[in-house]
Amino acid sequence: MRRVDELVTAPARGERESPRAYVGKSVTRLEDAPLVRGEGRFAADVNFPRQLYMRVVRSQVAHGRLVSVDTSAARALPGVVAAWTWSEVSELPPIPFRATKVSGLEPYCQPVLAHERVRYVGEPITVVFAEDACLAEDAAERVGVEIEELPVLLDASEPPREFAPGLTTQPTIIRKGYGEVSAAFAQAHAVVALDLSIGRHSGVPLECRGAVARYDAARDVLEMYGAAKKSHWNRDTMAAMLGRPPQGFHLYEGHVGGSFGVRGELYPEDVLVCLAALRLRRPVKWIEDRREHLVATNHSRQQRHRVQAAIDATGRILAIRNEIFHDQGAYVRTHGARVADMAAGLMLGPYRVPSYEVTAYYRLTNKTPAGTCRSPGRYETTFVRERLLDAIAHTVGVDPIEVRRRNLLAREEFPYRRPLDALGVAVVLDSGDYAGLLDKTLAWVGWPELKSRTAERRARGETVGIGLAMFVEKSGLGPSDGVRVSVDTTGGVELVTGAASVGQGMETVLAQICADTLGVDYQRVRVIHGNTERMEFGNGAHASRVTVMSGSATHLAAQKLRRKALDIAARLLGRRSGELELKAGRIVSTHDPALPTVGLDEVARHCHPGMNPGLTSEEDVGLSAEGWFFSEHMNYPYGIHLAQVRIDRETGLVKVERYWVAYDVGRAINPMLIEGQIVGGVAQGLGGALFEEFLYDPSGQPLSTTFADYLLVTASEMPDIEVLITEDAPSPFNPLGLKGAGEGGTNAVGAAVAAAVDDAMGAPGFVSSLPIAAHKVQRALALQPSQSADGSARLHLMEKQM
């Protein structure tokens, strides 16, 4: 690990940084104009002449032996061009993993089309190709599938069964730990034990998946549109699967209707669409519908934790021991065991835990396979950890906030190395002032007044409560990102990045960073992303990495380009580069505005071989620069959530009235965008806490297959929400001190709402599973001793609930 002061890139001696025009400002987004006009290009908006439509035939059985598939009736339909089962695509290998250090998972990969076995309702069995989407659906209905049903496994807490001869449904167990756990438990003043569950839910973006592939025979290039998130890796992997050279295969990301971790992983449909374009020699379009999406796109979150804490008499944690049952669904997908790994490695959050031991049982069930979803492994473990802290507080009779203070890591301890790893990277909390943020937050929300007003309302008969949860997020996942910045002969700037846009505003953020260093208007910076043809290497958008990684790379690239521009301008003006700076697209003197200046566009023209016959040095060709930022470590933003809820006693329905998020982001490039990420993140977190769940019947039939059953939060369910962004703990690991913000809004919602509900009910520890079930709340409240005897008072209370 490098010393902290070596990691921060200071401006070179003699070089002054431009005044910050954009970084730190809430400028409006570059992305917005086409989107508000309806001129975006989402996957379904891409069309080519003669395109065919692909439709997937999916298993209606949760577990079975695939006996036969008859596509003859489908193929007989006029306008149907082909229908493929496994035998037509058997040369394709199963979908491999993108990132996992766990070995031995290969046999559990999902085949592109099912053969011999189906393992979840929704598993692709056949694909049909037809002249239009309606026909393709008509044809899909005519495919006859025979399946011999097998018993289903739907509970990851049950003992594993056979997956295939010699293989069980428990591909791996993840173990991590350090310290002397047994001794700590033996010596503890008390042991707190909880059994907690998080329900199955997922990102569910508003745009379903889609892909359009086209083989351009004239150039021998295979193209796929509708890519997202991990275009380079997906391209490389699919190229290998299809036996094509990567240079002859390009992925293009247009507009993306949200990802939240679930879009942009490599799915069977992506591979099939590309293969079909090659074989059928016509463009092939596949657009998922919502019912498919809810059974075929990655699920997430479902874990059960049996957790114990050994504590001393003051509520300090001596050790934590945790058993996780992770419900992965039917196959191991591209994330491998990553989510379970993060749950195991990142559970401890902001607290000091002298000894720790975790065993994560990574198990398969006959449900839709799972992957990452916004704040993966952390939404789950923050719920677990914060419930644990609340239980500790109750056990020793100490205020829940005070108990947290006693266990928080102190500012002086940073960077703080946990003897753990997550995602193959050592957990080094880079910077943080957890207690400081707690103080700020309590002052900001007006904690004493909040408590007293809640108490007053309770005295008047309302069932109201407040809950608090603290968390540490992670962001800036490396290993690297590169950006190429160039200035054209009109002075316009182009920035090419291998990162991806999933709607988060990354173009604007990168443009702000670039524009400040180059002294140009940020609206003159054009950002190209997600395009493997324009950028050979890239790591995409996920894990809240883009601002940190691509932002840092942008900073480095822009600084290089700035130095080049100043050097060339110095030669052109006959002065020293140290006396020059960039301002409003021109290179000017730092001390005398009357001295001659030169425009960036002129410098670009000087660097253009076609325009400058006097150009003789290769170094001078092209006013452009590439910057690469490498990172061994993730960085760790952190925050606090507070929820105020009101419960209707007779129905058990929970209304979240107010919500607060305090979040330290290290350095805020665009506060408005950060707040947008947090508020949007809270909405998703609320979904998981109260509304969203993928349910299955005992035979493995999914019950949440439309938006009538899988309930998303609407404007009416959103609380009044306030966000406090702080910059107390910049990351020492990148030049601008950045940390990511994409997941901080979601992370602690389950925990905060659970704590608030417990508080409202006067029932510490009541909430032990998400989503919170109204009928359970109602029943628990009904069983509490009655608060008043006479009728008018009872009615008075009733009216309070209305």
Binding site: E141, L653, F691, L711, S792, Q801, M802
Partner: protein, 291 residues
């Protein structure tokens, strides 16, 4: 999610529509009014009518007027028509109060009052209104017209008394007298969702005594209905909180929840108790204080 193919007809008169229906008896023909329920079912291919009869072009079905003591609602009248009181007095106010709970705004601009009745989802608000007010439904076929009482009309879950060649052409709701009061309460998980439980109460209060009591409950059984045991608790009784509670309790015990799990059955009874009691409180709006 595209529907399966179908033949499409758009008749411009009731006679043409019923003639088509009788011709197609035995085949799978469905009537298309607002389409806000039928079309999603067709998109999901849960409904696959071979013939669709679109009645939106039949002008006679747009009638919305008071005739005598009843409000006549034609089959093509949209939910949105009730965004303003369509009749003076409690009935107009009742419909205005209830309509806010019907789905969402864009659905209300297309969906129809009668379409909701013909669909007979027990969690639909208008079905509860029709059952509680003893609406009369008019069905028309090539064989003639007939009137059906609401209690006869709702047969079961998504099942009505209409035969396959009949078209529901209108509903009549009794205009409530100026002294009648109403209260409507619905519990749902989110705004605009179907009801987990709901209650519509209509009553008169004179000299401190309750008369003409109607207590309807929906969203818990396979059909919405008036709960006689609950009404009997209140008919002729004083306006007292213990009487209201007894009525709510009677309603909770009288219903037969559609759920099979005991935990959820108990919950539904609790919801009914609360919905009925709150609906009564709303209807009495302040009258409780003086007792």
């Amino acid at each position: 999610m595209k529907p399966a193919p179908f033949h499409y007809f758009a008749p411009s008169s009731i006679a043409a529509a019923t003639a088509q229906l009788s011709e197609l008896a035995g085949e799978d023909a469905r009537v298309l009014a607002g389409g806000q329920t039928l079309i999603p079912a067709m998109a999901l291919r849960l409904a696959r009518p071979s013939h669709l009869i679109d009645i939106n072009g039949i002008q006679e079905l747009n009638n919305l007027e008071v005739r005598g003591t009843a409000l006549h609602i034609g089959a093509c009248v949209r939910h949105a028509a009730f965004h303003r009181p369509v009749v003076a007095g409690p009935l107009g106010a009742l419909l205005l109060d209830v309509v806010r709970h019907v789905a969402h705004l864009p659905i209300r601009y297309r969906g129809t009052f009668c379409g909701s009745l013909a669909n007979a989802d027990p969690a639909a608000e208008w079905c509860l209104v029709a059952a509680t007010l003893d609406a009369r439904l008019t069905a028309c076929s090539a064989r003639g017209e007939r009137e059906i009482a609401a209690t006869e009309f709702f047969r079961g879950y998504l099942t009505t008394a209409l035969s396959s060649d009949e078209l529901l052409i209108g509903a009549q709701l009794p205009c409530l007298s100026a002294r009648e009061r109403f209260g409507f309460v619905e519990f749902s998980r989110r705004a605009g969702d179907f009801a987990m439980a709901m209650s519509l109460v209509v009553l008169q209060s004179e000299a401190g005594r309750l008369t003409r009591v109607r207590i309807g409950v929906g969203g818990v059984e396979v059909v919405p209905r008036r709960i006689a045991p609950a009404e009997q608790c209140l008919e002729g009784q004083l306006v007292r909180s213990e009487n209201l509670e007894r009525a709510a309790e009677a309603a909770a015990m009288a219903i037969e929840p559609a759920e099979s799990e005991e935990e959820l059955r108990v919950y539904k009874r609790s919801l009914v108790r609360a919905a009925v009691l709150r609906a009564l409180i709303k209807a009495l709006d302040g009258q409780l204080r003086s007792h």
